[in-house]
Structures are given as C-alpha cells and as structure tokens.
C-alpha cells in the first residue's frame, strides 16, 4: 500500500515537473532572464579588460567569479519570482483545487514546483558554462577551477532561493500579494544590511549613544538575516571559494541543503494548513 502510494506520488511529481518545465522552456521569460544576466556580465568583463592598460598589470582575484555572482543573482531573482507566484497563481486560478482532487498532495505539488525550478537552473548553468568558456577562450581571462566550484555551488544557492520563493508563495493567496511580499521582504533584508554596512564604516567612538545601540541592534538583525536571506548564502559561498577553504565550501553546501529542506517543509506544512483556497 505504502509502495503504491509512493509510486503514485513520484509519478505525480514527475508529471508536474515535466508539464511546468516544458511551459517555462516555451516561454521567453526564461531566455530573457539569462540574456539580461549575461549582458550585465559582458558589461562588467569589458570594463575589467579595459582596465588593464597596455604595458601595465592588474591584480585581481578570479575576475569571472564576480560576473557569475551577478548572473546568479539576476537568474535567482527571476526564479524566486516565478517560485513566489507559482503556488498563489494556481490557488488564485483554482487549478490547485482541481489538482488536489486528483493524486496530487501538497507535498508532491511543492516538490514538483521545486524540482521544476532546479531543472530550469541546471539548463541555465549550461548557458553560463558555455558563456564563461567562450569569454575565457576569447580573452584568456581563465576558466579556473574556482569558477567550476562556484558554478557547482550555485545550484545549492539557487535551491535556497527557490525554496524561499515557494515559502512566500505558500503564505499568500494571490499573485499580487506574493510579489509584494517577496519584494518587501527582500528590500527589507537589503536595506538592513546596507545600513549596517554603512554603520560599520564609522568607529564606535564616533557615534552617539543612540546610534551605538542602533548599530548593535542592526548587527544582531543582520546576523539573523544572514541565515534567513537566501542571497546571503551566495555571498558566503563566494567567500569560501575566495579563501580556498574546502571545509567552508562543503559546510556552505550543507547549510544550503538544510535551509532548502526547512523552507520546503514549511511550505508543505503551510500549504496543508491553509488549504487549496488559502
């Protein structure tokens, strides 16, 4: 009985992934997001190469890693938005209710959505690899081992982003609300970390007492955000590659897996709790 239930769940996940993946691949949004990310990369790299003057040197650590970081952020933004609206859209259109009358459960639905986005990113990764290989061949900037490590790690970063998006989507009943919530949360994360970063430039002695308390408060909030915001995992992962620490690299992968599992479990739980009509 359990075996049959499992195979039914696996089958419904498979069907969901296929249907959704084909839908995304036939749309222009996916290619447009990659194109935008690569155009930004080209702009950054052209400026970098322009900075190396004839008869001069430029010392930099892995110049391809930063453009990759930017591209992953751009594509992640696309994926987090489509993840964030995926559940709420189905809920709003009523298709979720129809699906749940069949063999689809909240678990198989969430997992299906998650893996669809992961597969989309794996396809994106092929574009990234081809692009960076092309850049390296053309300019000799070097397709380094660290870039390969960053490309591999990016799968786990994106996993965090997708699960976070699905979590937001499970919380909201409408597409508009999902997008507003997502943007508001991400902007709040960004604003807190930005203000904290500005405070870090001032020595504590130069600040008045209320500002010192504000700085300390922001420090603790930022610490919390660095574990909740999916984008923090990208910068942390980049640092582990920068300092060439295999231990930190593997630890980062482990963190990403734990993060994804927690948010997926929460999404399934909330979806179950709120029901198909929200």
């Amino acid at each position: 009985m359990a075996k049959k239930k499992f195979s039914l769940t696996a089958h419904s996940i498979k069907v969901l992934i296929k249907k959704e993946l084909v839908g995304s691949l036939y749309g222009w949004g996916f290619y447009g997001a990659i194109f935008v990310s690569l155009i930004i990369c080209s702009f950054i790299l052209k400026n970098f190469i322009g900075g190396i003057r004839e008869e001069n040197i430029l010392i930099s650590s892995y110049p391809l890693n930063f453009p990759l970081f930017v591209s992953v952020i751009v594509v992640s933004l696309y994926l987090v938005i489509i993840s964030a609206i995926s559940i709420s859209r189905e809920r709003e259109q009523g298709t979720l209710e129809v699906l749940f009358y069949g063999p689809v459960s909240s678990f198989s639905f969430t997992i299906g959505k998650y893996f669809k986005d992961i597969f989309l990113y794996l396809i994106t990764l092929i574009f990234f690899a081809v692009y960076f290989f092309g850049v390296s061949s053309l300019t000799n900037l070097g397709f380094t081992y660290s870039l390969t490590k960053a490309l591999a790690l990016s799968i786990f970063w994106v996993s965090c982003v997708i699960s976070f998006g699905l979590f937001i989507s499970s919380l909201t009943g409408r597409v508009r609300n999902s997008i507003i919530w997502l943007i508001a949360i991400l902007l709040a994360f960004l604003a807190i970390q930005f203000v904290h970063s500005i405070f870090l430039n001032f020595p504590e002695e130069a600040l008045s007492s209320p500002l010192v308390y504000l700085r300390k408060t922001l420090y603790y909030i930022s610490k919390g955000i660095s574990w909740v915001s999916p984008f923090s995992y990208i910068s942390r992962g980049m640092e582990s590659i920068q300092i060439e620490s295999m231990k930190l690299y593997l630890l980062n992968i482990a963190y990403c897996i734990v993060y994804s599992v927690i948010f997926l479990v929460l999404s399934v739980y909330i979806l179950k709790l709120k029901g198909v009509r929200g």
Binding site: L25, Y26, W28, F30, Y31, G32, I34, F35, L38, I39, C41, S42, L45, K46, I49, G50, I52, R53, E54, E55, N56, I57, L58, I59, S60, S61, Y62, P63, F127, V130, Y131, G134, V135, L138, T139, N140, L141, G142, T144, S146, L200, N201, P203, E205, Q242, I243, E244
Partner: protein, 445 residues
Amino acid sequence: MKKIILFIGIASILIFSLEGFAQQKPSFKPALREELVYGFSVFDGKSYSGGFIPETEDTIYLIAKHNNTLSAKKTLVYFWAITGKYMAGFKSLNEEVEGTLEVLKDGKVIKELTKEDNVLSFPEGYFGEKSLFYKGEEALEEFDKYKKTVENYYNEIKKYYEAQTEYRKKLNEFFEQIKKRREAGEEGALNIEVPKEPQPPKTPSFYVTEPKKDFILNLSVGKYQIRLRAKDETIVEGSEKNIMVFTSRRTGGIGYEITPGNRWTKKESCNDPAMIIYAAGENILYFRPYSQDEYNELYYNKLIDPQNEGREDNWKWVHTSPIKNVSLLFFGQNKVLEKIDKKPFYVKQISGPELGYNIIEYNEKDFPYQKPTFEGYQLNLSSQLKKTGYQIYMQKKDENTPLSKSERGIRLVRKENSQFLYYLSFLPLMVGAIVFIRKKIRAKA
C-alpha cells in the same frame, strides 16, 4: 544705482567678514586632562609595536599565545585635532600605577598578574624587522649578554684607537727610515716591513632594550576583561578594559610585493593566493616574496594602534618576514620557462627634459659609493610570449619542490577580443528563438 550701491555694500561686508574669519588665528592649545592609560608593547605578527590606550578605548586587542606587555600609567592626555587622535604627554607626567592586574573571563578572575622584567631583543640590530621577547631571568640574562657585548666592543674600540696611534707612529718611522736610506744612497728594494693597519672592531650585530617591569599577558583566543587592583584591595578607577584576543584566519601564506618596471614607485600587492596577475602588453615585473598571515582588519588595526579604524568583516594579509634563499620559477606551456634569482637593481634617473628613469642591474663597479635601490626577482613578460596562462612560484635553492602557497597565475589578456563579449550574451536568445520556432512548427504539424 541704489541696487549697485547695495550690492557693493553687501559684497564688502561679506569680504571683510570672511577676511576677519581667515585672520582669526586658532587658539590651538589642546586641553590637557590627567587620566589612567595603559602603555603597551604587543606582538603584531612580525615584531613588537608600542603605544598607549587612552580612556576612550574600552577594548585592547592582542594576538593569541604571544607575550604582550601592559603597564598602567597616569599621564596627561590631549586631543590632537589634526590626526583626530588622543595623544599622551608622557614627558610632562609619567606616573606608574602600582597594583595587581586581574584577568577575568566570564566574570571570574582567571589570572592575577604582577609586574615582571622583560626586554625586547633585535637579533638583526635596532633597525632590523625581527624582534624577540624575553621575560624574567631570561630577560636579565639577555640584557647582560648585550651589555657585555657592548662593553667588549668599547674595549675593542679603545684597543683599536691605541693600535691606530701605534700604527701611525710606526708608519711615520717607516717613511723616515725609507727617506734616510734613500738619502744614504740605497737603491732597489729596501726590505723594510710595512706596518699593518689595524681593523676596527665589528659593532654588535644585535640590540636589546633595557629591562623594564610590566604586566605580561599571554592568552588564548577569546574575550576577557582586565582591571587593576591597588594595594589597598580597591579597583583602580578607569583601569577596567575588555581584551579581545584573536588569531590569524590563514597562516603560512606567501605574498608578493610587485614593482612594475614602468612605475617602480607604485608597488602592487599580490597577497591572496586567489589573486591573478593580468597583463596586456610587454612588461618587466620585480617580485619580492614575503611570509604572511591573514588577520581581521579591525582587530589588527586596533592592535597596532587602539585608536585606528577598520572593518570587522574585512581581512588583511600581514607580511611577517621576507623569504630568503629561494628562486622564482616562471612556468608555462607545461615547462619551466625561466629560473630567476634575486638581484640588486639601481634606478637611474634620466637627465634632461625626458624625465624618466631606467632600472639597471646593480654592481659595485658601475655604481661606486652607491647602494642598490631595491632587490627583487626580475620577470620579463616580453611581447614574444604567447597570450595564455602562466604561473610563478618560489623554490628553495637547495630543493626541487615549490614552496607551498607561493603559486600565482599570470594571464596575458587578449584585449582586442573584448568587443565580442556582447555577442556571446545573445546565445540564450538564439536558443530561445530555435525552441520557439520548433514549437510553432510542431503546432502547425
């Protein structure tokens, strides 16, 4: 007309008032105030740095598992607006505050320190980069050793001056003897022994500071507090400070200071192993390798001077000592292209209106009475080199294995191709178009 007069009037008032402001000489007598400060001599990764910690700084930063000294003093402190830092007038007031230094962790006293003798020894001389710390009996012994060496040196000098006087006397006798015998009509070799000039003694090659008594702290990584307990068992006011003991994030690295041939005054650093040297055209580079450790920027800056600034989320490499007896290997196309040894170089200014310079290999013959401007490993990135990736690394002169963490990449960039980068970005759109067309064809079919 009225408007013109009004305008001139206002302008004159403004000009005179501005002049008045400008003429106001700043009465720059900083306010002195007596306060308890800690004088310190701390291990900074390569040697020892000294300074003081004013009352405004509540945290002292130290490197773990190294001896550091602290001493509580009463002095006059003033704020120096030009540097934006507090300064201490130790010449006016320098009063040692006696007592026992208590070290606390999590509110519990873990150490009670009394003052101990300590010295700093500079094995490469006073201006040498290396310094060693000695405490207790060892410190006194080290200072005695230095004192004896200096005494011996002065005795030797005394003997040298006596020998010089004797030598001059003998030299005069020698010339007089020659003169006499020549006047007597002797010809050819005279066979008179030439007096030997005495050689001055060598100055002591090391230096040891005078012993002083301080609290010596040697702590492991963590947060601590200190306070000074006076003889009457009370806590000395203003003596409570936090101690942040830290260590390096990465150790035993090798960093390079690179002097580009076309601008030798503007040196570049290639400290992080992740750093790659990108070059576009012909270039001559001079490398100087150093051992290095990586520290938190804020902690390290505060260690050197507690009033310094820095960011807690940044890291910095600190050169600890120059690497000696090594060769630089230039590797590329699966073989060692060049093995380079360290050489001295002299920077010769070009006279005339061109205003430039040449970097020439130094030798004493060509540059008598001159010292080399710098020493380094010269790498010529000639225009003949294929535009691909290369590597440099250091190798011990008597070994064949590269020094760990000394590898750095050098990439000769093809700048001319950078214009094609934008075309590569269109790849996803092209694939998208193909998918879209296929979908349309399928739908029609």
